[in-house]
Symmetry: C2
Subunit: 144 residues, 2 copies
DNA sequence: ATATTTGCAAACGTTTTGCATGGAA
DNA sequence: TTCCATGCAAAACGTTTGCAAATAT
């Protein structure tokens, strides 16, 4: 159902990029593969520390950046919450519905760029961003 | 033509909020009123320092945050470039076309939320974000 | 064997805080 | 005259870097 990148795919990406597969990187991939939403570097570090008490923050950062550069992770800067990461969906173009409480995401296929929008000026378009924010059902229930 | 917030409007917002109108705050408003795109705190600080050599960085930050909280400024986090600010357009709903080179913005009225998108799950929608990125005509010409 | 990756520590840039002084109301 | 805003300095925060030791290839 989901088209989230799997551990196997992430490791393939690393191998293809010529990187070595260390236990830390495997663990990093597992953490993202089993997570629903956006994760902060600190959360990822804490999770990694469960398996590797001696892991260092800079290793987490380095690998987050590498995976992000390779396209295996998507970055997102939450206005209050800073930079976070989630597995990217490489298979098809879509946008996200993001719960502002738990930061879980749902995908949807509608893309405004397919609608022939009339834009002002003479821009050379390069990319776009469309996200809808809200409170997911679970969080709504939990708030009662 | 433009519906950017003017100096007068920004000062009104400050007065309505019960803030005192200092020379620094007036200057801050002027800098934004005469600017086209997103400004970094550092740039704003440099501009302010032209009028007030003794201005401090924390004053700039405090006032940027205050104006932002009051809705007079919009924040945007550029993935490489950090947090920046521009005057918000309080008059009507619209979205932005952002030049990734000079960070100038153009507005356009099309809003994907008016299109009756079918969304997955049961979300309580709170807000959305739609931006198109590209290179503006001036920057395209300058690149030749 | 050897080149990459790690952990440590220290540096870095940005943003925030506490407090005495200065300035707007 | 009163209280808010400022400037200064220092701290906090997230992230990055240099290097020797450890490890995947």
């Amino acid at each position: 159902m989901s088209d989230k990148t799997t551990v196997k795919e992430m490791i393939e990406i690393m191998v293809r990029g010529g990187w070595r597969i260390t236990e830390q990187r495997r663990t990093l991939a597992e953490i993202f593969a089993k997570s629903e939403g956006y994760l902060s570097p600190k959360y990822v570090y804490d999770q990694m520390a469960l398996s590797y008490p001696s892991v260092s923050f800079d290793t987490v950062y380095r690998n987050l950046r590498l995976l992000s550069d390779m396209g295996a992770l998507e970055q997102f800067y939450f206005m209050d919450g800073g930079l976070k990461f989630r597995t990217s969906c490489l298979n098809h173009h879509h946008h996200h519905l993001i719960c502002t409480n738990c930061e879980k995401t749902l995908t949807f296929d509608y893309c405004p760029m397919d609608q022939g929008i009339k834009l002002p000026g003479k821009f050379k378009l390069t990319s776009h961003r469309f996200e809808i924010y809200g409170i997911c059902e679970e969080c709504q229930n939990a708030m009662d």
